[in-house]
Symmetry: C3
Subunit: 160 residues, 3 copies
């Protein structure tokens, strides 16, 4: 049993999926896993709100702009390649379903069941104008020092 | 002598080249190196078929679509930036030639001569509709558990 | 106290910023940090010349093309997503300022004050047609073997 950390910087469906497949695989092998979500990767942790208003600190116009551009939920993330306005992503999700590969939502649920520690980067939340109220439950909030502390204890550290 | 692993997720000419330069450099320093090719990175291992049909399991329409979109051989990979429909890549390859930098095909050959272990991710092969018959000889086939086993023994693990 | 290495391959404002935030954070925790700038990441180290000619080895036409395409200074790097021809980057820099997040120029200055070792990849300099005269002072020049030597001594190695 050892420890792994993954920084999820990218907000691409395929890269986030790779991050969770590695994380869940490691957890299944009894590793302790910490995922640190920063920048575009934060969108992975968004709670689908169906347009409902969430409370919290008011956002500046620019923050509103950024949080509007970010996909509203993990299943809306695009592919890093061949996204074609979402068509490529839809195709890939369809193939994955027929090949019995889990969706990101399922991978997140599995990660939480397996006790993977998910941390939202507070500095990125400030820049992107994303509030804790908008993110899923059961995650932690911290900065780069916390990440570095975790990475120091791990034997595999990836930036995705 | 120590061990290194590199996940080649990206299918960009420049990033794949960086992966092989690091891998070959480490092997030249007597390190044991494992490269794990997944998602778009799988295209790196494609055997140029010149349009000839290869045998194997039939592909679904969506899988055919994905495998058609993927570059047919490593020398056809695009740049991650300034690709301009292949022009940027052509320019870069020309400069690299004049600077005596190896092409990806040469880097792959060198990696195989140096005994670098190259693994094709079987889950990605299923999703992308890529069959073993389409990939170069001398590689292995495995999943995330194998990668994690290798990474646990390594002192440097990169995701590219 | 331990050692960290970061390969800065990407030339995106957001990714380079992430690299420096991790590097500066580690240095603040008394870690020894080495950053290795390669490919598009080299643009980070460019010295703003305001169009003035710099001396050094003459460049080929293709090298001139590449060095012209690369942003002339770190503050001109684009975002990896939602760049919109520079508008997204401008917006993000504005939000960061209001949230008191340092710019890349400030992060570089802080990295140099903290004694972070910054290495420009000489092979990439040849390919991109970038000369030492065009890069900021106080950095080192080396190749992949030097990077691997540093990584062997480190407990966290990232590729960004």
């Amino acid at each position: 049993m050892s420890k792994k950390t993954i920084i999820v910087f990218s907000g691409d469906y395929d890269k986030v999926m790779a991050a969770f497949i590695i994380a869940n695989g490691a957890a299944a092998m009894d590793d302790e896993v910490t995922m640190f979500f920063t920048f575009w990767g934060l969108a992975t942790l968004r709670k689908p709100t169906n347009g409902a208003k969430v409370g919290g600190k008011p956002k500046s116009t620019l923050q509103k702009g950024f949080s509007m551009m970010l996909p509203p939920s993990p299943e809306k993330l695009g592919l890093s390649k061949f996204n074609f306005g979402g068509l490529g992503q839809m195709m890939m999700k369809k193939v994955m379903k027929s090949e019995h590969v889990m969706t990101i939502s399922e991978l997140i649920a599995s990660a939480q069941e397996q006790g993977i520690k998910m941390i939202a980067c507070t500095m990125s939340m400030d820049v992107m104008g994303i509030r804790a109220e908008e993110l899923i439950d059961g995650i932690e909030y911290a900065g780069v020092a916390t990440y570095l502390g975790e990475a120091d204890e791990a034997n595999v550290n990836l930036f995705i």
